[in-house]
Symmetry: C3
């Protein structure tokens, strides 16, 4: 990817109830994330927590996927914040490597945090 | 990602006709996958199989993307099952690395398989 | 992933205004990409370019995500073309590794370029 002049970033995909999407976006903004993409038309089933014996989502529609791409140094507060959020709200997050062309677009800078 | 306390998993993204989404979800469940996310509002074009000379999808709407995240040991039956499914149904799958915060949510456990 | 009989490819996810989706798809086709998946129901916010002081997207809906999976050798023209496209149109792209089962489906072949 470096051959393509790209910069490695962290991609965070979060699936939550539509009602909770604003909380997720607030958390991202507070952690210095400068943008996101939201997908509607999302439904989910599972995932089971064996130690809990309940479903997070039961083929429920009305979910939203929020996708944020951020510099690795913002990963820790975002992951920690989402983990805490999922303590009392149903949701899952998937964290992946991704590469972008214009890394400065994905860092709000300290004055916006 | 390990620094963030995350666990590596396999992400499977499947694009199929809406009519075939239940077959995909049944296959996932049978392979021990404990949850999935479905996206509607999906259309697709291609992909060409040169040896077949036909399109899999012809700018067709009414497709669904099913996203499942699973422990690596469930990867083999899921990929084998999907490969067989695509023998007589149009569809594509993309397999990626991803990391999650609560790995136990993504493993249904043997009693549910 | 190689254990699963899969082949590594490049996944390109592009978020643009719905009006610009055809330009993206034309660019992909010209670069030898044989198929794509489009998601509607997409909205976006940000990303900030600090040197520009403006938002790319302002919680705007009516966006589209175009997902293309291509052999690594097609990556360079696609990334270069999209970078140029984003010079005068709002948009972001995320480039990731992914693996597929039938690599020949993702290469249109020279006769189609």
């Amino acid at each position: 990817m470096k051959d393509l002049g790209l910069t490695r970033m962290v991609k965070v995909e979060v699936v939550v109830r539509a009602d909770d999407a604003d909380v997720v976006r607030e958390l991202l903004r507070a952690a210095g994330v400068s943008g996101w993409t939201s997908l509607t038309g999302v439904s989910g089933f599972g995932h089971h927590g064996n130690h809990e014996g309940r479903l997070l989502f039961n083929e429920r529609s009305g979910l939203v996927m929020v996708i944020a791409v951020l510099p690795e140094q913002h990963g820790e507060p975002v992951v920690a914040g989402l983990r805490q959020l999922f303590g009392d709200r149903p949701g899952v997050m998937f964290i992946s490597d991704t590469w972008v062309s214009r890394p400065e677009y994905f860092d709000a800078g300290p004055e916006l945090r």
